[in-house]
Amino acid sequence: MGKTIAEKIFDSHKVDNPFGDIHVIRLDAVFCHEITTPVAINDLVARGMDRVFDPTKIKAVIDHVTPAKDSKTAMQGKILREWAQRNNIVDFFDIGQNGVCHAIFPEKGFVRPGYTVIMGDSHTCTHGAFGAFAAGVGTTDLEVGILKGVCAFHYPESIKIEITGELPQGVYAKDAILAVISRLGVSGATNKVIEFTGNVIDKMSMEARMTLCNMAVEAGGTSGICAPDMVTVDYLWEFIKDEFASKDEALKSYQAFTADPDAGYTEVITIDASTLVPVATYGFKPDQVKPISEMTGEKVDQVYIGSCTNGRIEDLRIAAKVLAGNNVKAGVRGIVSPASPKIYSQALEEGIIKTFMDAGFCVTNPTCGACLGMSNGVLAEGEVCASTTNRNFNGRMGKGGTVHLMSPASAAATAINGYISNSNLYVTGDK
């Protein structure tokens, strides 16, 4: 039988198979941020093992709370900063250069087709958009990754999600992935890789593919994954042009990491894109998804546009298109966090930041802060937020707060109306 993308990656990275289906694989990249890495660093120091397996394969960023909000977060940054320095980790991104990990690392070309990547962050699955196996892990796995450059996983089974046809106007990758999660349920993909395929994916930008793969973990998935194609090569070209004579040659080489036609999947789900509509979550689980048309009227206190799911330039462009010439409803707080400095400056150049500001949005620096209720937009008890992030858990954006997940277009429309709304891009078909 043929192999899935994940199986091909595992087979090319196998170090050991100590028990049953447990495979220890070699890692091409270990990503770190200031929330889950400092504890690993402290433990390594305490064990007298303050070293890294390969400083060029470790990338680190301060992104969750930046600039530091208090002494404790300042200390987390300090531990990471000093560790990067003493271990010669050159790719360390601090104030001025930092942004949300899953936006900034791909943007720097750190993820390639066929790579294996771990990070102490559940949304590491985002990087599967490049045809990589990318998994979120805990601090201990991270610690061993830093020290030895290996990680243990069950040999991966995959679910294939095929999205065919054409997305209706005003319907985005975010609506598609929420529909997939509502179908699979929050544990439907536990221990599995979700492989996204179909002509809708073929046409998607890398940004949109990252939005899809980002939320694989909300269905329990270990990694999302999209086959590498010319879109992938185009995105990476500036970083790989010295390695390949031409884009075609790069593509040929990366095609080693596409699935065989007779690969085996535990489940194949085909979705006709024309049946998809703008959706949002209700309740406290990401599989609680409804068409926005059934939720219209629900009032919000805050609208947040940003995060590793939807804080990229394409997302800001779409939101700005909805916002242009409109104002945020009185009494509603609009917050936008461009996910990286590059995205921020691009948005500045394109006039998008001005559109947001003219509409009454607060523009923050690139950070995760609001998404997990740590800084820059925390909710108060009883407040409701329309958000382009990926988790609507109880209290996620602040104790006692409620989060409705949706696309940037819907979030922008919700900001204008003050209640959950479809964007005019959907209503008028203007795209």
Partner: protein, 174 residues
């Protein structure tokens, strides 16, 4: 090796997520011990009172998809510093389960029907668990009832429990 015996805390809900186990606002802590007072602070579950219920417990039993959500190992640590080293449930989110064994703790899976029976028999009563790792049995006992049930552990998970976690195991081997 850690201790896998003691009083049982019954958490009768599926999909208990890591934000409920330890909210993100406490992730600024850089020691495990500092998490101790905040375990399950945001858990929405009728009749559960963290102040009353956690202190006396050393074992948690729950339903499906326990520990879903974030990768934070702070979730197992928050249990560990409250002397809870074993969770028993129908199923787990992958990262949470791996984190438990990586810390030398146990995330034991039982069939839904067995979990349902344990809830029916023991929830609401003072129940004690005795774990026999060699025989792979869990012995539950309350004043009114008792039951011994077998469990399985993959060889890898067992090796991690015996090595007191993945760092010790991997450092010796790779």
């Amino acid at each position: 090796m850690k201790d896998f015996n003691g009083k049982v805390l019954f958490l009768d809900r599926s999909d208990i997520n890591t934000d409920e186990i330890i909210p993100a606002r406490y992730l600024t802590e850089i020691t495990k011990e500092a998490l101790q007072p905040f375990l399950l602070e945001d858990l929405s579950l009728d009749g559960f009172d963290p102040a009353r219920d956690i202190q006396k417990s050393s074992v948690v039993i729950s339903r499906a998809n326990f520990g879903c959500g974030s990768s934070r190992e702070h979730a197992p640590w928050a249990f560990e510093v409250n002397d809870i080293n074993i969770v028993i449930a129908e199923s787990y989110a992958r990262i949470f389960k791996q984190n438990m064994f990586n810390c030398g703790m146990m995330a034991v899976e039982l069939e839904p029907k067995d979990i349902a029976r344990l809830f029916a028999k023991f929830a609401g009563q003072e129940t004690t668990l005795t774990t026999d790792l060699a025989k792979k049995t869990l012995h539950f006992s309350s004043e009114k009832d008792e039951e011994t049930i077998s469990f399985t552990l993959s060889e890898f998970d067992q090796a991690l429990v015996e090595a007191d976690g993945w760092v010790g195991y991997a450092d010796a081997k790779y």
